[in-house]
């Protein structure tokens, strides 16, 4: 059941109507049922691995809490954490990566002349497994670290993991944020409702009007037998906007729906294409994942506490695994490695960049900022080429074509893409310059004009959108 389907509308409206009529505990029970239905609409069998891993996590967290209360040695808690890690990562590894590693190993052995039969499995990847695995892991790790208390109610925990707005594509919620909201009675304010509706309309606009219109253009270039430099440039920039509008549109809808029920989700995107360097980019793009990787992987590896070389190693390893999290394919690994390298290089160059920044006069600060934003955007776009490419051969071919970036430039297609993304670019420029992230609410407009603008946005969503496409991040 995709957010951009009519089935979702038929699902969410009665769910909201019923939800408002119920008291707190009944609301939670009802949301568990509704979320199970939502998830089972893909495939009812997906519920079993989810139920299995959450049960293990719940039990392990409870045991860790009891162990801490009894003053038992930390090794005991570590054991429960290991059980939780092995269960969650084992399920993720089995469903998502088994075939990838089996095929890669087979190819590697074949290349050195060893024909070892390594069978692959006919497995359906449960939707959203990467998201809910990380979410559940954050709970047991936080309990292990003593940062939060384990909940006594299994159903509250189950709901925190299963809650349908974030289940299949995030944002990845920490237990400290969402579980607390599940456990406490929620007060829905009129501000939340208005804000939620604004987010939903804006999210659908980004997804249906921008991302879905760019998708066929991008697909055509990435499925073409060969492309010119100009076509590569248009394809990659169009994909940069497609994936941003697709994913952030989904996130906005998820956050909006959650707000309508009194829940607050974390911010997942903060004008990522205005980032001035790789580190800044990861504080703006998919924030719930990058902060998860920072807190649970990078810091666990030692973070920047050791030598400079160890910091570089940790950055590379974190981004490599972050890339692999996106999908079981070598281009995602390459994309992760690329971003890890950018972070390392940026860290190396930071003193130089700071010196240059300090020497620049007040009048040149604007252009210097623009140069940094533009440079980072270009670097990000090249990363999207690695991410979107259908094969490594295509990566090589498209990269080579960039030696002549204006050759056979498809001006008409570029103009069409520009018109499609213009509303987003305009809104985000104002957001960036004014520092008001809630600019999309258009609260600065007189109310009649605001209403008319929302009417036009809704018209664009319902009647001018392209044929509905699945969300890119659903595959992860």
């Amino acid at each position: 059941m995709l957010f951009n389907s009519f089935e979702f509308l038929l699902f969410v409206v009665p769910v909201l109507a019923t939800y408002y009529l119920l008291p707190h505990r009944a609301q939670n029970a009802f949301l568990v049922i509704a979320s199970c239905y939502f998830y089972a609409s893909w495939d009812w069998r997906f519920l079993f691995p989810l139920l299995f891993s959450t049960t293990i996590d719940y039990v392990c967290a409870r045991r860790m809490e009891q162990s801490l209360g009894r003053g038992e040695p930390a090794t005991r808690r570590k054991l429960y954490l290991q059980i939780s890690l092995v269960t969650n990562l084992g399920l993720l590894g089995f469903f998502k990566y088994y075939n990838f590693f089996a095929e890669s190993l087979h190819a590697l052995l074949s290349s050195i002349g060893l024909e070892v039969p390594i069978g692959t499995l006919e497995i359906i990847l449960p939707v959203g497994i990467s998201f809910y695995t990380f979410q559940a892991l954050s709970y047991t790790i936080d309990v292990y670290r003593g940062q939060i208390h384990a909940t006594r109610s299994f159903w509250d925990f189950f709901l925190a993991v299963l809650f349908f707005p974030h289940l299949v594509a995030g944002p990845i919620q920490r237990a400290s944020n969402l579980l607390a909201q599940v456990m406490q009675p929620r007060k829905i304010t009129s501000v939340q409702i208005v804000d939620g509706l604004h987010l939903i309309v804006w999210g659908y606009f980004k997804k249906v009007f921008i991302a879905d219109r760019l998708a066929p253009i991008v697909d055509a270039y990435f499925h073409a037998s060969s492309v010119s430099g100009g076509e590569t440039v248009v394809a990659v920039v169009a994909f940069a906007f497609q994936i941003y509008c697709d994913f952030s549109g989904y996130t906005d809808i998820a956050r909006g729906v959650a707000k309508l029920m009194g829940f607050e989700f974390v911010l997942n995107f903060n004008l990522p294409y205005f980032a001035t360097n790789p580190s800044d980019f990861w504080q703006r793009w998919h924030i719930s994942l990058s902060s998860w990787l920072r807190d649970y992987l990078y810091i666990s590896l030692g973070g920047n506490r050791g030598s400079e070389w160890k910091t570089y190693r940790n950055l590379l390893l974190t981004m490599l695994l972050g890339g692999l999290w996106h999908g079981a394919a070598w281009n995602f690994v390459l994309w992760g490695f690329y971003h890890g390298t950018l972070l390392v290089v940026h860290r190396l160059l930071t003193p130089v960049l700071e010196r240059v920044g300090a020497r620049i006069g007040t009048r040149a600060r604007g252009p210097w900022l623009a140069v940094r934003i533009l440079s980072m955007f270009v670097l990000t776009c090249y990363g999207w080429l690695l991410f979107r490419a259908t094969s490594l051969a295509q990566v090589v071919e498209m990269t080579a074509s960039l030696a002549h970036p204006l050759r056979a430039f498809p001006a008409e297609t570029a103009w069409h893409c520009l018109l499609v993304v213009a509303p987003l670019v305009l809104v985000q420029f104002v957001q960036y310059l004014s520092g008001r992230l809630d600019f999309y609410r258009l609260a600065w407009l007189p109310r009649p004009l605001m209403a008319a603008t929302y009417g036009l946005l809704l018209y664009g969503v319902v009647f001018l959108g392209a044929a509905p496409q699945s969300f890119v991040y659903f595959q992860f």
């Binding site: 009519f6 209403a451 009417g455 036009l456 018209y459 664009g460 319902v462």
Partner: protein, 361 residues
């Protein structure tokens, strides 16, 4: 008491403000809808804009309005779908006389079967200028357009007239219509919404609604439409007698203008008996004629097609048995009986083969 009144006032104010907001947003959507139609289809900004604007009733027959345009449909200077007929005299022509199946509802522009037929005939007969005119008028009953056939004869002198009748248009008809002025049979597209936004929204909901829910809603609407009445299991013989008489009449009208008539049996998507997963399409068909039960449509088609074959034999008319060739092949239809691109291609080829044989000296 005073504070309570203040709270009530605040709530009233909020409700009024929200209502006003919604009204302005809806008005903006209506305006956007009209601008969208204007830019993309040349629709007028004011006034009604619906499928009916393509056709007019001249007091005797319903015919296309010259140069009319609605959404993807546009008519030429003689009120027909398709390119302009050649002005030069002596151009060899065929005419397809029928209803919405011939006019083309779901096919991509230029893929309706009369156009396919023309392309095929031009390629196969070597008659490079051969024209096939699409004289299909949605809702047209075969007997009520004889004056239209006469006009076609005077204006275009076709060599062949292909008659593709729609049997369901005779549901509720008990007397032949031949020679009598008549409005087109009602169809779903006759509905005239005052708001373009509402019309688009209705279409979008229909497109997006899961089939099971749409069928459920349709069944509810049918039950409502037939409340307090007894739905028919079969169409009474009088309706089929009227259909047969009108077929005869149309054949005679074609012969009077000096053209060769070709009768075509009516094809639909349903095998007999229909598969269980096809039931929703039957319900969709019944939406247009709630008074006839679903099974009655299959029965009507079979009886009517038997009559088409009978008339063809009795009147010594060429017959194209499209029903035998295409009925039951759901992949060729976009709904119960209207073709999709693949179906129109098959139908066009089928007719072109027979007409090509007729044109050979």
């Amino acid at each position: 008491m005073r504070s309570r009144l203040l709270i009530d006032r605040t709530r009233f104010g909020q409700a009024a403000s929200a209502t006003l907001f919604a009204v302005v947003a809806l008005l903006a959507m209506e305006a956007a809808s009209r601008l969208d139609d204007h830019w993309n289809h040349g629709a007028p900004l004011w006034g009604s804009y619906d499928f009916e604007r393509l056709f007019t009733f001249d007091g005797r027959v319903v015919r296309g309005v010259p140069h009319a345009q609605y959404a993807k449909w546009s008519l030429n200077s003689v009120g027909m779908r398709g390119p302009e007929p050649a002005a030069a005299p002596g151009i060899p022509r065929a005419v397809v006389y029928g209803a919405s199946e011939s006019f083309g509802i779901y096919e991509s522009d230029g893929k309706e079967f009369p156009r396919v037929m023309q392309e095929r005939l031009r390629a196969d007969t070597g008659l490079g200028q051969f024209e096939v005119l699409n004289a299909g008028v949605p809702g047209m009953r075969v007997g009520s357009g004889t004056e239209y056939i006469e006009w076609l004869g005077q204006r275009f002198q076709p060599r062949v007239v292909v008659i593709y009748p729609t049997p369901t248009h005779y549901i509720g008809v008990s007397r032949p219509l031949c020679g009598r002025p008549a409005r087109a049979a009602s169809s779903a597209s006759d509905v005239k919404p005052s708001s373009r936004l509402l019309a688009k929204l209705t279409d979008r909901i229909k497109e997006s609604l899961p089939r099971s829910l749409l069928t459920m809603a349709r069944k509810g609407a049918i039950a409502w439409a037939t409340r307090g009445t007894q739905a028919l299991d079969r169409v009474p013989p009088s309706s089929l007698e009227a259909f047969k008489a009108d077929l005869d009449c149309a054949v005679q009208a074609v012969r009077r203008i000096g053209a060769t008539p070709v009768l075509v049996t009516h094809a639909n998507r349903f095998a007999a008996p229909p598969a269980a997963d096809e039931a929703m399409w039957l319900t969709g068909w019944r939406m247009q004629y709630p008074e006839l039960r679903e099974a009655g449509f299959i029965d009507l088609e079979q009886r009517a097609n038997a009559l088409v074959r009978e008339v063809a034999q009795q009147a010594d008319v060429e017959l194209v048995d499209a029903a035998s060739e295409l009925t039951g092949r759901a992949e060729l239809f976009a709904d119960h009986a209207h073709f999709n691109d693949a179906g129109a291609q098959r139908m066009g080829n089928l007719l072109a083969r027979r007409v090509a044989a007729l044109l050979k000296p």
